[in-house]
């Protein structure tokens, strides 16, 4: 019998002894110690609980009513335990027998081996016989079967006399075998099926890992063998850098002892094409895997466009560069892995010396991009004062290689022009004024780029060429900066950050060019004054000063003409209210009293957009100077209609509401298409140049009309309000009924509804955006009964669209 049951029952009885004694005392109306008895009762209850739990563990479906039945249940459990114990003993004997069978004996002598095998057979038979007897088999001492033989071989007298005695008396054959067996003679055997299964699993695992590894290496090779094509060298370099990082990552992953991660996608030769085609959200899973497991590779692929990749074996990227006949891109030879770092920036580039100084470029955050000096032909490349700012940009997918080549050529030309424009103006000017290239220019002036030289020669025809050259010198670098920066708007932010760091440097160089031009201009002026002093005024019409003076005179006259035209325009505009308002950036109806949807800035912008056409129509060459004549409608076609400001923008810029008693005159009249006022004092069609009385309204009127039409009307508008605002307007809330089936199923969560709050504060329409349908229906039923304070816009109630969240919790 197991010891647990008597002890459990004994504990219970002990705990109950005092309460029973207490009952006897109470029956005789004798005094008792109630605290002591209470504690005993608690102890008894605890013992009962433990006993009950023990019984439930053995016989979960056992039930009893009294102590007698409890005893019967415990007896049944003891029987079961005994049967189990017997079964355990039996199975142990069988397990040792199996262990003896599975193992093998080794010995140098065959006779001894045979003898030991015979003993083993007898021991096995004995164990099987003992295990098959009726009733409880004898207990085999020692550990579990798989350790039993080792344990038994280690038994020695007198330390293990007890175990040896039992063994000798109960299992004599087994004892005989063990006595003859030495530990090193016994070779336990691993179950063949388990061994084969383990081996197969290990093989499979190894195969899978090897497959993953080889796939990563193949892709790394593929990446290495291919080449990146782009019309911007900087972009090519950046992508090559990313590519090399990706290759490194792939190789390091392949070397992981725990096995590489699984790379999603097809085989290596199709992988890049596949990866470039991944897009979110369709391929979110693959992209996530890629991003998590192969961050560098993902970075490379994210920057790579499909047409930028030329896999190994494909024809060269483009025609040979006219400069030296070398191809713009040449396929990469498969390099050995350790040389990756050295080859990072060895991508083939146009052979013409393109001095690209990236000294100022800093490594992008999060990457270890090295600072490099990109001078392809070493010392042959002249040092540029200006660092070219060529931020990485994504080329249009449809660009052909020829186009890319042309763009590259243009880029090189622009770089050369920058240098020429900055360094050549002074020399060109000297040449034009008669000093000749040999007088001041060094003999090696021809070293300046030919393009810049031609450009300066074509333009330097007068003294003003200095200013022109200076302007060119400034404009070219700025243009060179502006173009890539414009492109850079579409590039990732981190790329822009690099470019922006370079821009100040370019600006500084441009400032330097301006300063140089200014000095030249000053020198020219001094020379001019000296010539006048020496030869008099007449001298300037002769010799070298003739053309410059003519040029300056023409320039001055042009400026004066422009000033007169502008003054006339202003004077006419000041006599015309509409025009005046237009000129001052205010529409005729007046911004302060008119709830125009657009601000005065918007209106001025719209009006200024009309000006060219208005001026064209109002100022023909034979236009009379009379102000009234300007009001007459010319035969010119109506001006271009102006696109009204978007309603959303207008709603965001609403001015103060207008008193109804004093509506904006212009707006009212135009809106009703009334004829123009004869005096033209108000902003109607007849007062606007190009306007047609009774005909289509002029552009300004269109602006006014359209802007008026675009004005939000509080009474008909529906606005979106946040849930917080709506919550603040809530005046009557009906709690949602927790659906019984949802409650019983312990369904809970938040339902998000979209509701329209009417002008009267009632909820007009409700629809569920998110949440369990059962809960959503209950929430909608409740929300439909909610009441809000009407949402007011400009003091008038409007419909409000909002989101309402209703949370269901069974604890509420």
């Amino acid at each position: 019998m197991s010891s647990i049951w008597p002890s459990a029952l004994g504990s219970l009885d002990d705990a109950l002894a005092l309460p029973y004694e207490t009952v006897g005392k109470l029956k005789a109306a004798n005094p008792i110690n109630i605290e002591e008895v209470t504690q005993q009762l608690k102890d008894a209850a605890e013992c009962g609980n433990k006993l009950r739990a023990s019984i439930a563990a053995e016989l979960p479906d056992a039930s009893w009513q009294n102590r007698e039945e409890l005893r019967a249940v415990i007896a049944k459990i003891q029987e079961l335990e005994e049967a189990r114990r017997i079964e355990g003993l039996r199975s142990r004997l069988l397990a040792v027998a199996t262990e003896l069978e599975r193992g093998s004996i080794t010995h140098r002598r065959a006779a001894r081996l045979t003898e030991l095998n015979q003993l083993r057979e007898q021991a096995i038979k004995e164990l099987l016989a003992q295990g098959g007897v009726e009733g409880a088999p004898p207990t085999l001492p020692g550990p579990e079967a798989d350790q039993w033989i080792e344990w038994a071989c280690g038994l020695q007298e007198p330390e293990d006399s007890d175990s040896l005695q039992i063994l000798r008396h109960t299992f004599p054959q087994l004892d005989d075998f063990i006595t003859n067996l030495e530990p090193d003679m016994w070779k336990p055997d691993v179950p063949p099926e388990a061994a084969s299964q383990n081996a197969a699993e290990a093989e499979e695992r190894k195969r899978v890992l090897e497959q993953r590894r080889s796939r990563l290496l193949a892709l790394a090779t593929e990446l290495e063998r291919g080449s990146v094509v782009h019309h911007r060298v900087l972009r090519v370099n950046e992508l090559n850098y990313l590519r090399d990082q990706a290759i490194k990552e792939l190789r390091s992953q392949a070397k992981l002892p725990s096995g590489p991660r699984t790379l999603p996608g097809p085989e290596a030769d199709q992988w890049i094409e596949w990866a470039c085609g991944l897009r979110e959200p369709q391929d979110a899973e693959a992209l996530q895997t890629l991003r998590k497991g192969f961050a560098r590779l993902d970075d490379f692929i994210a920057n790579l466009e499909p047409n930028m990749w030329k896999p190994a074996g494909s024809p060269p990227a483009g025609p040979p560069d006219p400069g030296n006949g070398k191809p713009a891109e040449k396929p990469r030879q498969e390099p050995p892995a350790p040389e990756i770092k050295a080859k990072v920036f060895e991508e083939p580039v146009p052979s013409q010396p393109i001095p690209i100084n990236l000294k100022g470029a800093k490594p992008t955050a999060g990457r270890d991009k090295p600072q490099v000096q990109l001078s392809r032909d070493g010392s042959a490349a002249p040092e540029l004062a200006v660092e070219p700012v060529t931020p990485p940009s994504r080329p249009a997918p449809s660009r052909s290689n020829e186009e890319i080549q042309r763009m590259q050529a243009r880029e090189r030309e622009a770089l050369a022009r920058i240098k020429g424009a900055v360094t050549e103006p002074v020399r060109s000017f000297d040449h034009r004024i008669g000093r000749g290239p040999s007088s001041k220019s060094p003999a090696g002036a021809g070293a300046a780029p030919a393009v810049a030289k031609e450009r300066v020669e074509a333009k330097a025809t007068a003294a003003t060429i200095t200013a022109t050259a200076t302007a060119t010198a400034v404009a070219e670098p700025v243009k060179a900066v502006a173009t890539p920066l414009t492109v850079a708007r579409t590039t990732p932010v981190r790329v822009m950050a690099d470019d922006e760091e370079k821009t100040p440097s370019v600006t500084a160089k441009a400032s330097s060019a301006i300063s140089s031009a200014r000095t030249t201009l000053s020198d020219t002026w001094t020379e001019f004054v000296s010539d006048v002093r020496d030869g008099g005024i007449g001298a300037i019409w002769q010799g070298k000063w003739r053309l410059p003076v003519i040029g300056v005179t023409v320039l001055v006259l042009a400026l004066v003409t422009l000033g007169v035209v502008y003054w006339v325009h202003r004077a006419r505009a000041s006599n015309n209210p509409v025009k005046a308002a237009e000129t001052s950036g205010v529409v005729a109806s007046g911004p302060a009293s008119n709830p125009q949807p657009a601000t005065s800035t918007d209106t001025a912008a719209a009006a200024s957009g009309l000006k060219p056409s208005a001026d064209k129509q109002a100022k023909p060459k034979d236009q009379p100077k009379d102000q009234n004549a300007a009001a007459k409608p010319p035969d010119a076609p109506p001006s271009q209609p102006v696109t009204p400001a978007p309603a959303l923008d207008a709603s965001l810029r609403l001015p103060a509401p207008v008193p109804k008693a004093n509506p904006p005159v212009g707006t009212k009249e135009i809106a009703k298409d009334e004829p123009a006022a004869p005096n033209g004092a108000v902003g109607v069609a007849g007062t606007v140049p190009g306007g047609t009385p009774g005909g289509p309204p002029s552009s300004v009127i269109n602006v006014v009309k359209d802007l008026s039409a675009a004005q939000p009307r509080a009474g008909t508008q529906k606005v979106s309000v946040s849930s917080g605002v709506a919550q603040g307007l809530l005046v009557h809330r009906v709690a949602p009924q927790y659906p019984p089936q949802a409650k019983s199923a312990r369904l809970q969560g938040t339902v998000v509804l979209q509701a329209v709050i009417g002008k009267d504060g009632s909820v007009h329409s409700v629809r569920a955006l998110k949440g369990n349908p059962v809960l959503a229906q209950a929430a909608m039923d409740a929300v439909k009964q909610w009441r809000y304070r009407p949402y007011a816009l400009n003091g008038e109630p409007v419909e409000a669209d909002t989101e309402i969240s209703v949370t269901f919790s069974p604890h509420d």
Binding site: L12, L16, V23, L26, P31, I34, T38, C47, W64, N66
Partner: protein, 194 residues
């Protein structure tokens, strides 16, 4: 028997029955509400304390060890209480007889006075005879003797039927006398003296 005794003993026994049931459940390792069991224990202890107080009130020197000894004690106390009760009944009858003897009947007609005096004598004899009888005398309904005649002359049917029935059945002469006596006919000698 005084009603307090049986109720106290019954209360103790009832609470002990509940407690014993709970202990049996505990003994069988059944689930019990231990708080409830402790309450049952407290109730039983309270009932035992009350019973002990009653015993000590009747027999301050009483000592007992178990329920059997307690039962013996309670039986003894009950006997004492019963004897005391009989003596009280007897004394009450004799006191009323003495009260009847002490009073005087007043009436305008001598014949009627004589007749009522005869009835009074018969009632007095009846009361003394009842008190002298062995065993438990009949219980005389009504108040104490000095107020008894006033109370009895005020009895009327059907309101006091029960008392009149008892009187008529157990004390026939006394009932006859009270039925003929009017309240203003009975004068206590003491008052005449005053």
């Amino acid at each position: 028997m005084i009603p307090l005794w049986p109720s106290t003993i019954a209360s103790l026994d009832d609470s002990l029955v509940l407690l014993s049931d709970s202990l049996e459940k505990l003994k069988a390792a059944k689930s019990v509400n231990i708080t409830e069991v402790i309450e049952q224990l407290k109730t039983a202890a309270e009932a035992a304390r009350n019973l002990r107080a009653l015993v000590m009130a009747e027999m301050p020197e009483a000592v007992w060890q178990d329920r059997a000894e307690l039962d013996v004690l309670i039986a003894e106390i009950q006997k004492r209480i019963e004897a005391r009760h009989i003596e009280e009944l007897r004394g009450r009858l004799l006191a009323l007889a003495a009260e009847l003897d002490r009073g005087t009947i007043v009436h305008r007609r001598a014949v009627r006075v004589t007749q009522l005096n005869q009835l009074r004598d018969a009632a007095s004899k009846e009361l003394r005879a009842q008190a002298a009888a062995s065993g438990k005398p009949q219980t005389l309904p009504g108040p104490e003797p000095d107020e008894w005649l006033d109370w009895a002359c005020g009895l009327q049917e059907p309101e006091d039927t029960e008392s009149l029935q008892t009187l008529r059945k157990e004390f026939a002469h006394l009932d006859d006398f009270v039925a003929n006596l009017e309240p203003n006919m009975w004068v206590i000698k003491k008052e005449i003296l005053v």
